[in-house]
Each structure stands twice: as structure tokens, then as C-alpha cells.
Symmetry: C2
Subunit: 410 residues, 2 copies
């Protein structure tokens, strides 16, 4: 099953959703829970296909040990919850938040949850919700655990997102030129991805869709979460680090590359190759049966042996699903076994002040025996040294701008 | 002070931030707290000017009873926290999440918080954070309380956002024509607002900026949170309900109108006037010294007396600040006093299946003696019956499309 991936853009079937509920109920049975209470919008989307606006009005999904979930929500939201949700649900609404005593969401909650119930809640659950639960509560991430192993449907959806992102990444590399504003290509590539998604599925939910197609230019690529300057430009040389990531109608992925424009600085060659070597090791290790912690430790040990210890800033990978950043993690100290059907980013990297950042990331499915990349982008230094010369069209545009702005201030 | 509003696009001063910390510390003293722990990104932004990407790696701001806050964060994020933040901070980082025992974020936390400390936490605080706090915890929304009264700086920032939104709203009404896709105008107006913001302050943080400029056409305006169809079009007649809202570099606002295109259906006239009457009552009541609960109750009673009881779906208003939806609320059951320096949406409305939605919303400052709208949009039925005839340019475009697509399938 995990070798035949069919990219898919549509909504889940009732069976898909009911299987997820069954999996959650099975986890609940192991822990002797009467109800499981979800407020995390990602978990609610996973179990209902409904992506909510989260303001201060609570949406609470109550999964009973048997039978269909009860969805508690503001009255205002019920019509489109009904039109968007998939699967069997019992609807329960409250009028408004805040509300007079007796008409609050918590009053409705206690029509379902009783003092004798043992209720599982997410570790994400805010205190304000947890403290209103009658009976005993137990913080346990059952839905997050179920989400770790992807169904055939989910793999198809993630593969679909990865196809969009791979095209967006190609568009970014093709359009990059020294001096061009990165935000310009971000606009173009995200617009292309959004339109493609809407053509493939006109019912796509924009509340649950977002795309980014950016790159860090050489002067800041050593600081991998620095996006503070909106007007950053591509530059001659490198390393640049591209980041194309997104959530297409509820399913996530990412693809990232270290790349150069026209020339490769001599000081960047050895780090680039060392990063590739660490990455090859990560792919070799990220297979069923291995420990997630061990993957990260061995990759970090390899980088440390090459002298990059002080340049490490993050773990080897994270997972995807209904988000593009979630558990499980390829991280030292995270002692869990890698299993078929999981999806990880494999993105070991390091960051050298004065040289730049070195990281590739792909969205990778764990198969029965190994792993398989769902994203696609160039991998060799040759392919990633892109031709950044202004095109004929750019030259013409630039000339036209000069003529049009003649006489205006610089 | 509250009568002289100076719209302002820049970052807060050190003094502005330090005054906020002082206000929080004063609230902490009243409750005998040694530390206050913030994880809500909005509260962290309010107290540091740093808007974070929230993934699974915790950012925790610890405000002590005296002196400067300690900001616990992933190592990866420290450089741009330092470049973005305003005010005195002590930086404390952990390497990664997850991490081996002894190197986790919670290990760092316990270098600051001790077993004998009394620690305030947000009601928003997730269980996963709350349970790692040594010592006794008390869920209390001190920062949210401080945020309720706006400083001169904040009023300037909100007024600035409201100016952008008012322009975006005018652009939406000007461009609306029967048959035109709403998403097309949304793209245009949000792009205009974003560009204007970046021109006024090139350091604006896009992580903390978002704009919407949409409208619900007559067939769904009775269902006020229904945005499920991406391809919705403006239509002849009405009521349409516009929603122009946003967060410009961290400060929020909204402006909304019920409007018509070319003609006003007879059945919509009385509801439109009744809504205006309820709205006038809300403005009269939303003044210093009055109870927030009472405003909503009296407005609802007025609507009920007109027979709209079954058509009510939401409270009269909510507040703005570093979000565009927050406490305090003009809501029955919310027993708090209205004070100068608060900012509310005043948006009483009702929704009639088969007729449509009736609601105006503005962002309104409470002054020493009354209130003052910070947003600006037409208010009369005449001005809100817009000329929706295709323009010459539209006709030419449409003709050109016909020529270009001649022979292609419909």
C-alpha cells in the first residue's frame, strides 16, 4: 500500500473519518476513559473535516467511548459546521460567549460530561477549558498519537500538497535573480499554488490553506528563522536557503534547498558536501524499527565529528499531517520507534556565521522497508547553482521602467 | 488625551513597553504573585513587541514581581527575538524540543521558578506548560486585563489600522458589481492595504499582519460566519454584508456594512431601519460608567420588542488591541464597567433566512465622556445602495474575454 501513492485533492469519506474515531476510541479503551475532549483545532479538523475560525468562543469535540461524537459550538457556527463536517456527529450549541449563568458553554458541557466520568484531555487544552470539566481529567494526547500513522487517504493528500510545493519550488528557483525581491516570487508562486489547488478542488477550504515560497539570502541564511526584512533580495553567490511549505486544504508538507546564484563561494563547498553526507546518513537511518532519538543523535555525532557542533540549531526532523509541523520528532531524547505510514521532514542542517546556512528538507513517507520522498527538487550542487542572469524580459522591463520614471526622483 | 488621536505606524518606545510591564507587576502585587507566566503569543507581543511563529517549541515570558522579564525560547529563535523585541529582557534559551532529560525547556524553567514561588498563569495556558511549573499556580488573566485599557500609543496604532481598513472598505464598495467574484476585490483591497502599510513602515512585521476584505452576498448573508464558497459573487439587490478587518503590524480593527446593489428589496427596508435604530441605542449606551452586560441586554430587548428575538446570533461587541477579537465583551452576562480608553466593535445585528443579514460594525474608542468611531464608512441606505452597473472598462474586458475564448468550451 505504501508504495502506491495516489495524490488526491478531495474530502475524506465517511469511512475514513469513522476509522479515525474508532482508532481514538481504541486508545481511550486502553486508558479506561469515558470521554475524550478535543479543543485543538487540528484535532477537531482531523476528526470532523471541519476547520474552524478560532476566536474566543470555544468549539469542543467530545468523543465518547462508544458511538458518535458530540460537537459543542457557538450557535452562530452551526450551519457551516453542518455543511463542512464529514461523519456522524451530534450537534450541541450554546448561544454566545460570554453568556449569563446557566446559558454558558460550560453549562452545555455538563449535559454530556458527568461527575463520574473519566475524561481525557489534550496536553494543549487551556486551563480555562480543563477546569470546567466535571469528573476526573487526564492529560493524554490520544488523537495526536493516532495522527502519527497516516492512512492511505492522508498519504494521498500529503502527496498532493507535496506536488504543489515541488512546482512552487521550481518556480522560485527559475525566477530567482540577483537583486530581485524575494517577496515578488513568493507572491507569484503562492498564487500559482493556490489557484492550482482551487482548480483541482473548488471546495478547498481557504481557512485551512496557506503557502509560503521564500528564500533566505546569503547574509542571513546562517539565522534560519530570520524573516524580519520584508524587502530581502536574492544575491550573487550563496548559500541561499529556500523554504517552500504549505497546507493545501488541510494537509501539509515542505521542500527546502541550499542554493547558489551563478557562483559558489569556495568556503561554502565543504560545508555543502558535509551537509549532504549528514543528510544521506539521516535517510539511511530513518527507516522502520529505528529509534527517532537515535537518528538525530547519530546525525549530530557525524556533524560534530566534522567540527560543526557549535553550528547545530535544530533536530533532524518533524512530522506532517493536518499541520506542517507536528509530532513525532526526529530528535535526541525523543525515544519512539519509526513506523511505516509516518511522514517526516528529513532536514539535518547547520549554520555558520559569515558563511551561511546548509539545509535541505523534504517531506518523506516511511514505507514498509525504507522511505520515499514525496517532494521533488534538485539535489546536486550543479543543479542548485542557478543561472541568475537577468532574462531578456527582465532587461526589457528594467529599460521600460527607466524610460517611464525618467525625470522622477531616484 | 482621548480626543486627540494621532494615527501611528511605528514600533512602541521602551517606555511604552516598560509601562505595560509595570501595570502587570501592579496586578501581580494585588494578587501576591512572585511570577507571571505568559505563553499566549498575543500577550508576549504586547509585553515584548516580539511576534512569534508558534510551533510546538514553547516561548515563555516570565514576569517577576520586580525587575525585567525573563524570556525563555528555543536557541534557534534568539537572534531575531533580540532584533525585534523592545524593552529590557533577560534571554534564556533551551536547545530544542523535544530534548534529552536535563536539557529540556522545563529544565530551564526551573532555574527561574522555584518551589516556593506563587506563579500566575493565563487561563489560555495549555496543561502541558502548567504542569511543569514548580510551586503553586493560579490561573488569572492579568495581562489580558491590563490590555483592556489602551495607551495613547495603542490608540494611535489602532486608529492607523482603522484608516487602512476604511480605505479598503471604500475600495470594496467602489469595485462591487453584480457577477464580480468577491475574492477578486479581496485580493485587490488586501494588496492595497498591505502595500500602504509597508510604505508607511517598512519594518512592519508580516507575521503579525493580515487583512480581509470580503462580503457575503444576499443568498448567505443570513448566516454570518459562512465563507465556505470561495467563488461567491456580488449580486443584484441585497442585503450584502461587507467585512473588512485586519491586523496591521500587530494592531486590529474592523468595519462592516449592510449594503445593496442598485435596488433595495422591499422586505429588507424595515429590518435595515430597525438595525440602525438598535445600533443608535448601542452607541448611546456604550459610554463610560455603563455595564457591558446591560448594553447588550437593552439592545437585545429592543430587537426582541421588534420581533427579531429568533434572529439574534451574537452579542453587541468585542474589543480590539493586539488582536482583532478579544475581551472585554459587550455581552449579556459579562458584568464589567465600560471605561475610557477601551476600544469596542459596536455591531448589533440580526439574521433573517430568506431576507438576509443586517449588521454594521465599527471600531469605536471609549472617550472620557462618550465614544468615537475610529473607522469610517457610509451609513445611510442611499449611500449604501451602490451603483453596481458594469463600468466601461468591465464591459470592454468582458467583450475581450468573449473574443479571446471564442470557440473554447463554455
Amino acid at each position: 500500500m505504501l508504495d502506491q501513492i495516489i495524490p488526491f485533492a478531495g474530502a475524506p469519506s465517511k469511512n475514513e473519518i469513522s476509522q479515525r474515531i474508532t482508532n481514538v476510541q481504541s486508545g481511550m479503551a486502553d486508558q479506561g476513559l469515558d470521554f475524550y475532549l478535543c479543543v485543538n483545532p487540528d484535532n477537531i479538523f482531523y476528526l470532523t473535516n471541519f476547520a474552524n475560525f478560532v476566536h474566543e468562543r470555544p468549539f469542543i469535540l467530545l468523543v465518547p467511548s462508544k458511538g458518535k461524537p458530540v460537537f459543542l459550538m457557538p450557535k452562530l457556527e452551526e450551519p457551516h459546521v453542518r455543511s463542512r463536517s464529514v461523519g456522524e456527529l451530534e450537534y450541541l450549541h450554546y448561544f454566545e460567549f460570554p453568556a449569563p449563568t446557566g446559558q454558558q458553554w460550560s453549562d452545555r458541557l455538563t449535559t454530556v460530561l458527568l461527575a463520574e466520568h473519566k475524561v481525557g484531555i489534550e496536553t494543549f487544552c487551556p486551563m480555562a477549558i480543563a477546569r470546567e470539566v466535571p469528573g476526573s481529567i487526564e492529560a493524554t494526547d490520544i488523537v495526536d498519537e493516532v495522527r502519527m500513522i497516516k492512512s492511505e487517504y492522508e498519504i494521498g493528500r500529503i502527496a498532493y500538497t507535496c506536488n504543489l510545493l515541488s512546482k512552487g519550488h521550481a518556480q522560485l528557483l527559475t525566477g530567482a535573480r540577483p537583486g530581485r525581491m524575494i517577496v515578488e516570487l513568493h507572491s507569484q508562486a503562492t498564487s500559482t499554488m493556490t489557484k492550482r489547488m482551487l482548480m483541482d478542488n473548488p471546495n478547498s477550504n481557504l481557512l485551512n490553506s496557506k503557502f509560503a515560497a521564500i528564500a533566505q539570502p546569503p547574509e542571513i541564511s546562517h539565522d534560519p528563522h530570520n524573516f524580519t526584512d520584508v524587502f530581502m533580495k536574492f544575491a550573487q553567490g550563496g548559500p541561499h536557503v529556500s523554504i517552500v511549505s504549505g497546507l493545501a486544504n488541510g494537509y501539509g508538507g515542505e521542500v527546502e534547498r541550499t542554493f547558489f546564484m551563478n557562483t559558489v563561494p569556495e568556503k561554502a563547498r565543504a560545508p555543502f558536501n558535509d551537509m549532504l553526507e549528514g543528510r544521506a546518513l539521516a535517510y539511511e537511518l530513518t527507516v522502520p524499527g529505528n529509534s527517532m532519538s537515535e537518528v538525530d543523535r547519530k546525525v549530530n555525532d557525524f556533524f560534530k565529528s566534522k567540527g560543526y557542533g557549535p553550528n547545530l540549531l535544530h533536530r533532524t526532523g518533524h512530522s506532517f499531517g493536518v499541520t506542517n509541523h507536528e509530532a513525532p520528532f526526529l530528535a535526541e531524547g525523543y525515544e519512539h520507534e519509526i513506523k511505516p505510514g509516518m511522514v517526516f521532514s528529513i532536514e539535518p542542517g547547520f549554520y555558520i556565521q559569515g558563511v551561511g546556512g546548509f539545509r535541505f528538507s523534504d517531506t518523506v513517507l516511511i514505507t514498509e522497508k525504507g522511505n520515499k520522498k514525496l517532494t521533488d527538487a534538485p539535489e546536486s550542487l550543479e543543479e542548485l547553482t542557478v543561472d541568475g542572469k537577468p532574462s531578456f524580459v527582465d532587461s526589457a522591463k528594467s529599460l521600460m521602467m527607466k524610460v517611464l520614471t525618467k525625470g522622477s526622483k531616484n
